[in-house]
């Protein structure tokens, strides 16, 4: 049974949304022209916001450090363009709240060349220096969570990392950024992987790719030099295959214990984009100032995979893609399963933003909600084996404390339950409400 499960290369439960990747999977990555206004929020990663080290009126070059880490779980920020600092103040962020950010006006006459460029001698660097370099380069998890990459590198004493797992699942529908990166920059991916593997002291690199990207599997496999400790593992197409604990289960058939991290089972997981960013920094001297974004969905005129400088307003990105079609009702940052809706076209592209998806009436029509009939589809969908039906009922009755007995905090909000619910109950949202309430109640911040 165990051997059989390993052959299938998957975790249990999960759902099968239509992947909708046809729009952009065959479109090469192209560059968005530079615009005028850029906004770099200081807190675009998980953790402590960065501290601005520039002031209004100052001239900055593309790639120049403009904010330094505000603590250990924090990263540096670099100017995405050559221009002038317009303001350091509060700007409306993706979640609708005002948060500190640096506004930069691009110089229309600059060449926007990055003048860093020198490769770093990563091999002779000590691990501490390497970790600090990753932190200063501003590299975070590019799959969506934006967790600072260097934090994962610093493992406590006694913990060994044996496997470097590279996440190329891209299980969210519509998104094709990792797919295109694997096709177009397999060398960078493998170089970055080798740097990470050596620095972690891992025995092997495993690249997990969902089987619906046979071209990526082929291209990456072809670029592996014989003898290198790298293998590509095709994974079953199933959402959320790219959730790190699910992928560890799929590849190694190991469950990461609740409340623990991948490193506790000797694995380090990084997204394809993150690894490419590592290669770009250590081999080409490029800090994280731009990223690949998929612009797709039924409401966008010309879907595309784009390299977008961070801080670019969504408005410019959408405009480059021919604008919004009439009937546009909603714009999601990230994937359609876990992404966030944005309220305005003026919010900037951030480090963790893998997609800008434009939806129309059809996807956003208000679905009639029916009572829960306990059909159990959500239980069969939940990759964490929770009981979403019960959690939703309890949340509706505002019985948040009781929800802890049903392990509400193990929920990763992947949305499988809501996807599967025939009664259209917003289960994830009900769970988020409860988690939020419980978290705020627990720590009344003095």
């Amino acid at each position: 049974m165990r051997a059989f499960r390993r052959l299938r290369r998957s975790f249990e439960h999960g759902v099968h949304p239509a992947h909708h990747k046809q729009q952009t999977e065959n479109l090469p990555i192209q560059r968005v022209p530079f615009g005028t206004d850029y906004v770099m929020p200081l807190g675009q990663h998980i953790g402590v916001p960065a501290k601005a080290i520039v002031a209004a009126g100052e001239a900055v070059r593309r790639g120049q450090l403009i904010a330094e880490p505000g603590g250990f779980v924090s990263t540096g920020l670099h100017s995405p363009v050559t221009g002038t600092i317009k303001e350091v103040g509060d700007f409306r962020g993706v979640d609708g709240r005002f948060a500190p950010a640096i506004a930069i006006e691009a110089d229309p006459f600059a060449t926007q060349q990055v003048d860093a460029g020198a490769a770093t001698d990563w091999q002779s660097m000590s691990l501490e220096d390497f970790i600090e370099a990753v932190q200063m380069a501003g590299i975070v998890g590019m799959g969506g969570a934006a967790f600072p990459a260097h934090v994962k590198l610093s493992v406590p004493d006694g913990v060994r990392i044996r496997h470097l797992l590279i996440n190329g699942a891209e299980c969210e529908p519509y998104l094709t950024t990792d797919h295109r990166l694997m096709l177009e920059r397999p060398e960078a991916l493998l170089e970055g992987a080798e740097i990470m593997r050596q620095k972690l002291g891992a025995e092997e690199t495993v690249i997990g790719i969902e089987a619906n990207k046979p071209d990526a599997i082929e291209v990456v496999s072809k670029h592996i030099r014989p003898g290198d400790p790298v293998r590509v593992v095709p994974l079953k197409v199933k959402y959320p295959q790219g959730a790190e604990k699910m992928m560890i289960k799929s590849v190694f058939d190991v469950e990461v214990p609740a409340g623990q991290l991948p490193r506790d089972v000797e694995v380090n997981v990084n997204n394809v984009g993150t690894i490419v960013a590592i290669a770009d920094y250590f081999l080409r001297g490029l800090p994280l100032i731009e990223r690949v974004v998929t612009v797709a969905g039924p409401g966008v005129t010309y879907p595309a995979n784009l390299i977008v400088p961070l801080g670019t307003p969504v408005r410019d990105v959408v405009k480059f893609c021919g604008g919004l079609k009439p009937g546009t009702r909603e714009i999601i940052m990230g994937g359609p399963m876990m992404g966030r809706p944005i309220a305005s076209l003026d919010v900037p592209i951030l480090k963790g933003c893998s997609g800008v998806l434009v939806f129309t009436e059809e996807q956003t029509a208000r679905r009639k909600e029916y009572p829960c009939i306990s059909c159990g589809r959500c239980l069969e969908a939940c990759p964490y084996f929770l009981n979403p039906s019960r959690l939703a009922r309890l949340s509706k009755s505002r019985m948040f404390d009781e929800m802890q007995a049903y392990n509400v905090f193990d929920c990763v909000e992947c949305g499988c339950c809501t996807f599967a619910c025939p009664s259209n109950i917003p289960i994830v949202q009900l769970i988020r409400t409860a988690k939020d309430d419980l978290a705020n109640r627990k720590e009344p911040e003095a």
Binding site: P17, A18, K245, K249, V254, E255, V256, P257, A258, G259, Q260, D264, V265, E266, K319, L324, T328, R329, E330, I331, I332, G334, G335, P336, M337, M338, R340, P341, A343, S344, Q363, T364, R367, K368, Y370, P371, C372, S374, C375, G376, R377, L379, P383, Y384, F385, L386, N387, R390, Y406, N407, D410, G415, T418, F419, A420, P422, S423, N424, P426, V428
Partner: protein
């Protein structure tokens, strides 16, 4: 860029859904029951149509009467009331007076669903509660079985159907025993082929085992049904009968007879699997099914009644919240140690 930005909605993710909805699931069950319903009309003629219709009308009347004005349209549209009426009708004797059938449908919805708070909140299967109500209220009419009317025309109806409310019904004119009754009280075994194809006396829907199975397979393919429940009920019944058969082959029914006689298939496939009143956890479904199977056999073999499916399911319905509570699945990452 003077053009106004579109007004953006902030619907939270996930924006994608699988296509199934609750009303569609209800309609699937109606579709799955269609062959067995058609068979009941084939065997019992117009009477079948009238009894089923009366139950459905009764069920919808209760929905309409008691539902909140705003929710009225919904509860009628989601087809669950029609389903309750149809399921109840399929458990009734074909010769039952129509006013009783109507009352059964009405009571099933009123006491089985509305007073609990409507769809999704009830503890007991409404159709079976309606049947229990009828059995307690009209025990004679509910146990008067008629032979099939294959020889007669479709338009012939049983005289009992037209009995007026509260008048003495002329029911005993055409009575005949069900296979389970014959087995229990006269030790007479009905040929298996008759049981499978339905040419036996009994309630409207319990006569055609194969068509009920066919519908069950459809529901399983559509993922509308927790396969664990019918499988565990039927397996339990088969094993229980087989073990009893070891003691005395003549006194106890054979496994196949047990499966195809009475309301077992109807109950196991369509009533025990009612998602609202059965456990939601996979482990719970097994316990629920095994419990139902054991109760069915206990009542049939050792109880005073020839048939026990209804009470077995209702009793297990009552145990469902408890079963759910103690069979929560093991959460991913819990109960494992790091290596």
């Amino acid at each position: 860029m003077n053009k106004r930005d579109p007004d953006l909605l902030l619907f939270h993710a996930p924006l994608l859904r699988q296509g199934m909805t609750t009303p569609k699931a209800m309609r699937d069950v109606l579709i799955a029951l269609a062959p067995a319903t058609a068979a009941s009309m084939w065997f019992f003629g117009l009477s079948a149509l009238l009894v089923l219709g009366s139950c459905i009308v009764g069920a919808i009347a209760a929905e309409w009467l008691f539902a909140d004005k705003q929710a009225r349209g919904d509860s009628l549209r989601d087809a669950s009331g029609i389903l309750t009426g149809l399921l109840l009708g399929l458990t009734l004797p074909p010769g039952l007076p129509l006013w009783m059938a109507f009352l059964g449908g009405f009571a099933g919805i009123a006491f089985g669903k509305v007073i609990w708070g409507g769809l999704g909140h009830n503890l007991f299967n409404p159709a079976l509660l309606g049947r229990a109500f009828l059995l307690a209220t009209f025990p004679i009419a509910m146990t008067t079985w008629v032979p099939t009317v294959i020889d007669g025309g479709f338009l012939d109806i049983y005289p009992g159907n037209l009995a007026l409310p509260f008048m003495q019904a002329q029911v005993d004119a055409m009575s005949s025993a069900t296979p389970l009754g014959m087995m229990k009280f006269e030790q007479e075994v009905t040929p298996l082929a008759n049981l499978m194809f339905g040419n036996v006396s009994g309630s409207l829907g319990e006569t055609s085992g194969l068509l009920l199975l066919l519908g069950g397979i459809y529901l399983w393919l559509r993922r509308d049904l927790d396969w664990r429940i019918p499988v565990s009920i039927l397996l339990t019944v088969v094993i229980f009968s087989a073990v009893l058969g070891l003691f005395d082959e003549t006194r106890f029914p054979t496994p196949l007879f047990s499966v195809f006689s009475g309301g077992l298939l109807l109950g196991a496939i369509y009533m025990a699997t009612d998602p609202v009143t059965s456990p939601v956890t996979p482990k719970g479904a097994w316990i629920f099914g095994i419990g139902t199977g054991v109760l069915v056999m206990l009542i049939r073999v050792f109880g005073g009644l020839p048939e026990g499916v209804m009470y077995a399911i209702l009793l297990m319905n009552a145990a469902t919240p408890l079963i759910d509570r103690y069979t929560q699945p093991r959460v991913f990452g819990r109960g494992v140690d790091a290596e």
